[in-house]
Symmetry: C2
Subunit: 119 residues, 2 copies
Amino acid sequence: MIRGLKEGGLVPAVAQDWETGEVLMLAYMNEEALRRTVETGRAHYWSRSRGRLWLKGESSGHEQLVKEIRIDCDEDAILLKVEQKGGACHMGYRSCFYRNLEGVLVGEKIFEPDLVYRA
Amino acid sequence: MIRGLKEGGLVPAVAQDWETGEVLMLAYMNEEALRRTVETGRAHYWSRSRGRLWLKGESSGHEQLVKEIRIDCDEDAILLKVEQKGGACHMGYRSCFYRNLEGVLVGEKIFEPDLVYRA
């Protein structure tokens, strides 16, 4: 187990497109999320807002197939190199980082959230 | 101000090489770190272990010249596209993510920490 996940800890996990290098999103993992990610090859995270484990794409189908997992020097951050199905962002963008600090849209919108996340 | 920095919050900030797309490190920012980063064009972070603001490269000279700042959909994560001077990692690697989950070295060591971080 990596250091940052001891004693029930959460660590930030960065998902990066394994081919283009685009940074897609940042979410959090606990020990179980990392274990399931390794076991299934699909990115799992811990949702802090919902307080539960979360398979990325469970609602949208926009799964992340994990090609490589890296840890940082301090073992308190994770980098996932993934094949992103659809878009990573629930707002309809390929990447969650679709705005710059001034709020200008710089990312690519690739789907309509209302058509993907049905009630 | 972005949502995640309200009320003294900290948000994770991912530094990415603006040319190669390599993810270099993950650190944290508070409001002042972000403000100084914008004002100076050099990445500043909040060191959780030292409890103080930190200019990346203040000891090593390995500064990060900020080319672009992006925020994520929830405004609780930051992506910095930077020109990295030297190596981002205090262990001597270009990126802090120099190991995979199995502990195998996959990153490039580019300097000797003992020669850079002198007592």
